[in-house]
Amino acid sequence: MAMKKFINDPANLTSELLEGYVQAYGDKVALAGDRTVVRAKCKDESKVAIVTLGGAGHEPALSGFVGEGMLDASVVGDIFAAPGPPPVFEALKLMDRPAGVLFVVLNHAGDLMSANMAMDMASKQGLNVRQVLTHEDIAPGADSPAEDRRGLVGCVPLYKIAGAAAEAGKDLDEVCRVAEKFNAQMATLAVAIKTATHPQSGEEIFALADDEMEVGMGQHGEAGTGRSQMMTADQTARVMVEQLAKAVKAGKGDKVLLIINGAGATTLMEQFIIFRAARKVLAEAGIEVARSLVGEYLTVQEMAGFQMFVAKMDDELLSLWDAPCDTPYLTVR
């Protein structure tokens, strides 16, 4: 089928969507420059700032989580494409402060190159920035080298954890420490069942047969680890939960944060059904779902599928998770 989307000139997608976004949530976010989303009301300079970067087309991620208790700035690229190093460096400079900046980067080649370049510039100019790289995709195997593992929806809870520590006035070392602790204890697995069209080229980002699903599919149509026949919700959840629990070494008595992140066209109805099934499998293993999210946090246009995220939680992480936040797409009172 031809691409059917409510858009105008494909060249203006990112600027139009950002314009709409900051208008829609003008009480919470604003644009700094063309492509950097910042809080409407800046955080106190005495607190560590949290900055991230990434391509557009995954809404509400990443900019949907700019706001109290989470991000301070999100530098946005074009659809599925990293922003260049200069705007990233500019954002780091804008957020620079004695308390320092935590810079969260998702492991994707383009993002990483821009981030590294910007970090180089930042260190040359003496900015106080520390980088955390997320790479929690376990599709290539939980033990494969970090550089082969992509950063998926795990960035969102990591913003929350790090953001809460920063908001609480922790210093950069502490904010880094909790972010890295959480980073080391999280894992995501994605599954796709229907493709999406790239809103600029109008082309399908991958192809799957009518009765096929693919576990491990990346969030831009990158090939996964294995195609199989379509399974039921219960079967799919079991396959995924077992790999995830193993990856984070969760066992009897452990507490986890479980996130079901819809890719775009998969309904909340299905997500709840998957969530219920995932809880069941975890319960069988004696693992407690201490906290959870179900919904669309990082999407892949109108792709059908979802990401399942599991992180092992301790009391410190739980209390950071429970701290209030107020962003357009995640609010905790």
Partner: protein, 202 residues
């Protein structure tokens, strides 16, 4: 030098995008076009009297801002590495040029672990830098050194046809990435050919 390369690239925009379509997302032509526009604009703004160091830095920064995708950071790093390599007191001879290109390659290598054989722009860039160094060590002048670099780059780019991509978007295709020239290697070869032609006096 940059101007000549820019005009060669402009003539090849469609070819580059076509190559990128085969294994990537088909935007390498427009990324290179934006890069060249940005570099020329930086050149014009820097003015006649600016040092190579400053001009190349501005051009690199501009390319990074404009190009997007993989091209921005990689080509931008190349130009900024050249800038650093020339330093404040550029030796405008073959040895100095070789050193500058070595610095540029080191700068690109900070961005990527890709090696020759991985079907990327490195397949053109690495042999080109080796060629400049060898020419300089053998006592050649800048025009001859760049000519040899351009030839090495062209050969390196051609050789990517049979390679399987291990970096960039093309990596996802696995074996299906074999069979066409890598877009980034081709544009790198064009760039070096442009440099050589500009200094070769034709």
């Amino acid at each position: 030098m940059i101007r000549r390369a820019a005009s060669d690239i402009r003539a090849a925009v469609d070819e580059l995008s076509r190559l990128d379509s085969a294994t990537g997302d088909g935007d390498h032509g427009s990324a290179m076009l934006r890069s060249m526009d940005a570099a020329e604009k930086a050149l014009a703004e820097a003015g006649e009297s600016a040092s190579p160091k400053d001009v190349l830095f501005q051009a690199g920064w501009a390319v990074m801002s404009a190009a997007g995708g993989a091209t921005g950071p990689l080509l931008g790093s190349l130009l900024m590495g050249l800038s650093e390599g020339f330093g404040d007191n550029p030796r405008l001879d073959a040895a100095g040029t070789a050193a500058a290109f070595e610095a540029a390659l080191a700068s690109v290598r900070k961005q990527t672990k890709a090696q020759p054989g991985d079907k990327t722009m490195m397949d053109a860039l690495v042999p080109a830098v080796t060629a400049i160094r060898e020419a300089a060590d053998a006592g050649a002048g800048i025009p001859a050194a760049l000519k040899q670099a351009a030839e090495a780059a062209a050969k390196g780019a051609e050789a990517t046809v049979t390679m399987q991509a291990r970096f960039g978007r093309a990596k996802n295709l696995g074996e299906r990435s074999i069979g066409s020239v890598d877009a980034g290697a081709r544009s790198m070869a064009l760039l070096l050919a442009g440099f050589a032609a500009a200094l070769g006096g034709k």
